[in-house]
Amino acid sequence: MKKRGRGVASMWYGIGNTGLPNPAAAFIEVLSDTSVNLMVGCADIGQGSTTAMAQIAAEELGLDYEDIHVTSADTMVTPEGGATSASRQTLISGNATKLAARQAKGTLAEVASGFLNVPEEDLIFRNREIYSCKDNSVRMTYKELMAEMKKHGRLAVGAGAYNPKTTYLDPQTMAGIPYEVYSYATTIAEVEVDTETGEVEVLKVVSAHDVGRSINDVMVEGQIEGGVVMGEGFAVFEKVEYSNGVIKNPIFSKYLIPTAMDAPDIYSVVVECEGECGAYGAKGVGEPALIPSIPAIAAAVEDAIGVHFTSLPITPTDVLRELDKQKER
């Protein structure tokens, strides 16, 4: 017989290292043809930080995404980025990038202010133009601004560094500020348990994530989808088998991870929640994407067959053992 169940689970996740300084920095230069070199320490390992940093720089400078070229994670070119871990790069390198762009923009604003005869604080940089917020007919193009910069011998460069506001934790009680900001998420999973074979099939997963601000919706959804599938592996497939210190299943044919055939229908929901800490309010989603799917799947299995599993993964053997116990009762 096949039994369906549904389960809910949530999580919170502090962004950045726990109760420790963990800064990152960025360098930027707007070139005379309005193209931009952005140098960030942040390593892009496929999660898309290089793209996100380019988006942040473009927004701050009022240029296009295509104008920004990013060099990342080259220790003789880029400043310290810290680790690509702890879901920290969008918050920390993102803020560093924004600060670097803002510094370059300061010089640009000085020159534009003189040319347009508009106070710097009234200038808006947007869509490759600079104009007054009071009268948007008073405007100049970025090309004109860079020509003006050249005339005055000014260079649009910037450096930014950001360290999240945390405190060291008390060694006795762990009191303190472990993280500047937290991401939140809730996942609802639907599974089908085959009571003959013990197999758990994950059918549908809804996962809603408070990311503060989504820099790039498709990339956020990609993280959530990847996280859900990894969570499925955690909950019902994967386990490193080892004895006497030796790993017995170090290869893909023996260590089974979910494939496309196993992936459930995934419904990602991106929740935005206003905040001051991140660049444009962005927090992090890399690890949160994984976390709530694991307990949600376990809860769905419990809903289906009435067993509160307290050990992972929930394998067909475990399911059949528990169903046998139920029969005995």
């Binding site: 949530s10 995404y65 303190g176 408070d210 004895s243 210190g245 509160h308």
Partner: protein
């Protein structure tokens, strides 16, 4: 202009590297080639805990095409690496602490020759008692893997009056949760190429942590940091498994000694055996609520096996302790945690740093409380959810961007629509 009126933020622009990856032009570390490049390999321990009685590489060195064999004594700088605690040797000097410890390096003209040379190396061990369980690790008479204790880290978090709070609870749920060791199984195994030119060591590597890599490579070679260049090349996934040093120090050391570029690409098996794993953890949890559904107290005792070296163990234990009551207003919390060294595979960073394990525990408890109280699990969460102004167990007051309730409502609404 409103603050929300963005031109680029929120746009699903095409990733910068999309085209090069789709066209197969992106260069991963294993794709890098240099003139005169040699290949490197590592001779690794096959026992979990032992002193090295004899190591003989003379047959390997006699093999035509073998450029050098290096051991701990060839390290010009410090033979210590590690992101938080420098407890892992670049090459074993005092003793072997796990299966897969690096004992010697070889560089040769072809990858096949590297394997041939590794097969010709001879070793004899004085075996030590290996420790495979947390219980044995904690016993007084157990052999010590590092220093004078096998306790890698111990944490205690406390707020409120936990015992008094439990006494007032209408429902208390107790469970012990355990989670398994996991492997990241990133698609691209660890790889890198090192060059030594004009007194600069350059390492092209698959890594999540180039600036940390720089400090450990500089430390091992005894060079100032500005003579070490780490270039992170296109990296095929990490999930935390490429935060520790992998090939970087080994290829840098080989290139430094022979003055030629050296490439090292781990096989899947070598990569899985050597890179850090997810900490297997056990969490004994007690959660109490009053009948109105308010969580009053949480008590957790957790243990974790960090294996032979610390890696990110200190970060995992701290994060797990801070997060293990979940995103709920819990006025009374007591958490104790112990992580130990064993001779098992090394555990370290893996997507979530102990929070996936902790979430399995706190969410199992929340759902159990909901069942006891016959409450809807989403209602129970909404009732206890973090909000602006919540004081968490460390005493921090949440003041910025707390969107937990919104995720509960959004998930429930979407589930209603699609399930």
């Amino acid at each position: 202009m409103s603050d929300r009126d963005f031109t680029v933020i929120g746009q699903s622009v095409i990733r910068k590297e999309a085209l090069s990856k789709v066209l197969g032009e992106a260069k991963f570390a294993a794709d890098y080639k240099f003139d005169g490049m040699l290949y490197g390999g590592v001779f690794r321990s096959t026992v979990p805990h032992a002193a090295i009685k004899r190591f003989d590489a003379s047959k390997a060195l006699a093999l035509p095409g073998v450029a050098c064999v290096l051991t701990a004594k060839d390290i010009p700088g410090k033979n210590k690496t590690g992101i938080i605690i420098k407890d892992e040797p670049c090459l074993v000097d005092d003793k072997v602490r796990r299966v897969g410890d690096a004992i010697a390096l070889v560089a040769a003209d072809t990858p096949e020759r590297v394997h041939e040379a590794l097969d010709l190396m001879e070793i004899e061990y004085d075996l030590l008692e290996p420790i495979f369980t947390i219980e044995r690790a904690l016993e007084e008479d157990s052999p010590k893997i590092h220093g004078t204790t096998n306790i890698h880290a111990k944490k205690h978090l406390e707020c409120g009056d936990v015992d008094a709070a439990f006494a007032k609870c209408d429902v208390i749920v107790e469970n012990t949760y355990s989670t398994q060791m996991l492997s990241h199984m990133f698609i691209e195994p660890d790889a890198g190429v090192a060059t030594y030119k004009d007194k600069i060591i350059t390492v092209y590597a698959s890594t999540q942590n180039p600036h940390y890599d720089r400090s450990d490579v500089a430390g091992v070679l005894g060079l100032p940091s500005n003579r070490v260049r780490i270039v992170q090349v296109t990296t095929g996934g990490g999930f935390g498994g490429k935060l520790d040093i992998s090939v970087q120090c080994h290829i840098a050391l080989l290139a430094y000694h022979i003055g030629k570029p050296v490439k090292m690409v781990r096989s899947r098996t070598e990569s899985t055996i050597v890179s850090a794993k997810r900490h297997p953890m056990t969490m004994r949890a007690k959660t109490g609520a009053t009948k109105d559904g308010k969580i009053q107290a949480v008590e957790v005792f957790m243990t974790g096996d960090t294996g032979a070296y610390a890696s990110y163990g200190p970060a995992v234990i701290t994060r797990a302790v801070v997060h293990c009551m979940g995103p709920y207003e819990v006025p009374n919390v007591r958490v104790d945690a112990v992580f130990v060294y064993t001779n098992n595979p090394m555990s370290g960073a893996m997507r979530g740093f102990g929070v996936p394990q902790a979430a399995y525990c706190h969410e199992g408890q929340m759902n159990a409380i909901a069942k006891e109280l016959k409450m809807d699990p989403i209602e129970l969460r909404l009732l206890n959810a973090h909000r602006i102004g919540t004081t968490i167990a460390t005493g921090q007051v949440l003041t910025d961007s707390v969107g937990f309730k919104e995720t509960l409502l959004a998930a429930a609404a979407k589930a209603k629509e699609v399930m």
